[in-house]
Symmetry: C2
Subunit: 322 residues, 2 copies
DNA sequence: CTGAAAGCGCTTACAG
DNA sequence: CTGAAAGCGCTTACAG
């Protein structure tokens, strides 16, 4: 360590730099000053190797350029940074193998824990690696149906119910559910909620697909070829709604008057659309922050803490598309 | 190292796991098999401490939830991941001090290099720390006017000229430039280009502000209180254009017929707007990928490589808002 | 082709 | 209050 050129031992330097032990004010300031003047920067690789602690946290999502995850990640970064922790990111593209590879390399880098929005197709087994090394992790957004794992997400059934109920109140009885992968828990729960909210006298037609703008556009086009009595679109998420908007207006339909549209997520762009989108707030930023907090507390307590599930209550954001 | 419980020395294990040295096929497979069966995961903290190499790259932007940087970062992550590198992210919120702190902690974590979109107010001095430690870094998107540094960005003057010229061709002579911080190089160059493209007989009114949706909305409202003969809006970027869209339609103006709007960036959402936005493509993904490639080549060659500036040629994306 | 030894830069008991 | 020594898990010359 360079700073020992101030005439003291390495141990002493380490002690003052870490604010540990009892060091005389004189040597303390001496060390601090020489460290500053030398522009000393701690090598955490070495310190972590010895102490076993890490300032890195793995942050794994399917695609950080998806506005939902961009918001989610930015919020997580914020709370992590406040604790001096740094997120290491990886996109899985919803590929389980890529996810496993990211897990391995991050583990290898010695991250202190993980925040993971599981790739499609993940099972509880996908994270056995982390259990084996006893690394704390919290899953979020995507529920893989494992009750023994910490999870922060939202109540999908309730979110669906809110959307369905809102439409029912507006008198819609024949509705299209656009986008979403039919085999996923997120979809099934949301669909169930929609059905409940709409009530038993209603009709729902489903047009599945990956939750992207493209799906929204294409599925809406298909729908419009034979619209029937459909008066409202429930879009799996706001990205899908974006695509639906463009297909709808390409058809000359006026959103909010000719046809209603509701989304899920409340990503920032939706409030600037024409008309602003009515959507079910799923708190991407709140989830990111909460997941980071939960991980932090897991890292602190580490053992002997039962698994927690926190579900944020979705909320209707009433705007002009319905 | 656990794997030496296969009867060989640590050195040998290290050699086979790194594919170095000449090892007999027999011991090689023996080691590989026992490593696999034991679920061995290399501790890179240790290996990096010794070898001085790192698999971490610092990725610093003002805000990763900004769609431009979300795209940028996702693309950078892609090319980094292909090389087995992992991005560590930090948002500066355009605060130079936060940027410095992130630089320090990442340095401390031993990143192999940096990709940085400089926070507003950065000067060449802001990165002296990296020069002192001889850490490769590439700046991008925001030009801080340092010619001795690797930079990947776009030609702002040209981008502005494209937008101005397009509007001039459509017969617009009285134009408002919405959003953007007037003291920034990016703004000044873009403005200069717009003026050139529009031609000398035109009028440009400026409504500055941080390049956000909110600014777009508020500045457009101010403009509309006294619109005068203004027939077109040039928005500093697509986020500003989003805000402008909502203010415009709240005023009952039909975009593309009553008034023209053009943006910069071409973030994904713009193509789904009503009407789709005419914008100047600035290649967020291309920039991210290119910056990562450039950093990679810097890390390889390391010394004796003159600074490079690569500017991507902007391109008009003609859609229906003009 | 393989092993023993040194050393990367720290932190952490342990003496004193 | 401070120092000497061991050791975190690797890689890398150096012998053999």
């Amino acid at each position: 360590m360079v700073a020992e050129k101030a005439g003291v031992s390495v141990s002493t330097v380490s002690l003052v730099l870490n604010g540990k032990g009892r060091i005389s004010t004189r040597t303390r300031t001496l060390v601090e000053e020489t460290a500053a003047s030398l522009g000393f920067i701690l090598n955490r690789k070495a310190s972590q190797l010895r102490s076993g602690k890490s300032a890195l946290v793995g942050l794994i999502t399917s695609d950080i350029s998806n506005p939902f995850f961009a918001e989610f990640s930015a919020a997580a970064e914020g709370v992590l940074a406040d604790e001096g922790l740094l997120p290491v990111i990886a996109n899985t593209g919803d590929n389980v193998e890529r996810q496993t590879r990211s897990l391995e390399i991050m583990l290898s880098e010695g991250v202190a824990g993980f925040i993971i929005s599981a790739a499609d197709g993940s099972t509880p087994k996908s994270f056995d690696l982390l259990r084996r090394f006893d690394i704390p992790f919290v899953l979020c957004v995507r529920d893989i149906g494992d009750e023994n794992v910490d999870f922060v997400g939202f109540d999908n059934v309730r979110a669906g119910r809110i959307a369905g109920h809102h439409l029912a109140e507006k008198g819609h009885k024949d509705v299209a559910f656009i986008g979403g992968v039919l085999s996923h828990l997120n979809y099934q729960q949301r669909y169930q909620g929609v059905a409940e909210g709409l009530g038993s006298a209603s009709i729902i037609r489903s047009f599945g697909g990956l939750p992207t703008r493209t799906t929204g556009q294409e599925a809406t086009q298909v729908l419009l070829e034979d619209r029937g009595a459909t008066t409202a679109l429930i879009c799996f998420n706001d990205l899908v709604a974006a695509g639906a908007y463009s297909a709808l207006s390409a058809h000359g339909l006026s959103i909010g008057t000719d046809i209603a549209v509701v989304g899920f997520d409340n990503i920032p762009e939706t409030s600037a659309w024409t008309p602003p989108l009515t959507t079910v707030e799923l708190y991407p930023r709140g989830l990111g922050a909460r997941a980071a907090q939960m991980l932090l507390s897991k890292i602190d307590s580490h053992h002997s803490r039962p698994a927690e599930t926190v579900l944020m209550a979705p909320q209707l954001i009433l705007r002009r598309s319905t």
